[in-house]
Amino acid sequence: MRKEPHSDNDEHILAAFPDSLVKELRNLVQTERAQTMMSMPEDRVMRALKRISLGRKEELWIGELVSWFRPVFIAGLLVIVTLAFYNVNLLSADNQNQQTAAEMVLGLPPITVASAYDINLQDHP
């Protein structure tokens, strides 16, 4: 292979550089490439691409799932937070009956599992 001067401008630059050295440079790169490149590079590129596209598909699927379940997750979180606030005991010195804030606001007597099953037989002669 001979170096091709492609224009008048670079012709004089390249003319000062021996052809044999250009050949040496090309041979050097050919030899180095043979040393460094593993066999069947095309196959490895195609395999890498396949792996990447499979990875992308999985990511898409997970993204889709997340977008579907995001509203459910937010709604569930809201319910949990509401219940937690509902069950917070805001007790003060005046609160002698140990009622929760919700019980006081709603005016309902406290219902516990124990009270529900505590049958007073005296009311029924």
């Binding site: 170096k3 091709e4 224009s7 630059i13 390249l14 550089f17 050295l21 490149m37 095309e42 890498a48």
Partner: protein, 173 residues
């Protein structure tokens, strides 16, 4: 999809030599050449849709190879622990016996590689494209996205530097 894969495989086969030669020319005989070549084609696969056809596909691919090689060179500079494996002789120690001719050619290659490695990155890119890949100066300026005059001055400075580096050796005679 399968048709696209086959078409891309054709592109890989068509440009594998150009890309691997360009990357090897820029980086030398280092183990990372293989990875960089693979990265070039992965990037090409991703950005083929943005290829507008203004330049030839070869220009597009070789530009990617040069950019990836420059990235690898910068990464190599940053990572002090990554010792450049530029001594060709390290590869060839495995051969048991070598004739005088083989030893001489190894020494020549080693001298040349050391001279190339001493070139600044921008001059090295021009030398690789213009001399090794035999790409025209106009095309080189398009690949590197620099003016024509800049390519000429880099080519001149690069060749002058190579001449100085190899001055003492038999290569220049």
């Amino acid at each position: 999809m399968n048709g696209n894969d086959n078409a891309f495989r054709f592109v890989v086969e068509r440009f594998m030599d150009d890309v691997s030669r360009t990357v090897t020319g820029m980086l030398g005989p280092v183990p990372e050449v293989d990875d960089v070549v693979q990265e070039v084609f992965i990037k090409l696969h991703r950005s083929l849709s943005s290829f507008r056809g203004d330049a030839s596909l070869k220009t597009f691919v070789v530009r990617m190879a040069i950019n990836k090689s420059l990235d690898a060179l910068r990464k190599r500079k940053r990572a002090a622990w990554l010792k450049p494996w530029t001594d060709v002789q390290e590869y060839e120690h495995q051969t048991t016996e070598a004739s005088d001719t083989e030893i001489t050619s190894r020494e020549r290659r080693s001298e040349l590689r050391n001279a190339i490695n001493k070139l600044p990155e921008n001059q090295r890119a021009v030398i690789v494209l213009r001399l090794i890949e035999d790409i025209s100066t106009e095309e080189t300026s398009r690949i590197l996205d620099v003016p024509y005059g800049t390519v000429l001055s880099r080519l001149k400075r690069g060749l002058d530097r190579l001449r100085i580096e190899l001055g003492e050796s038999a290569l220049i005679n």
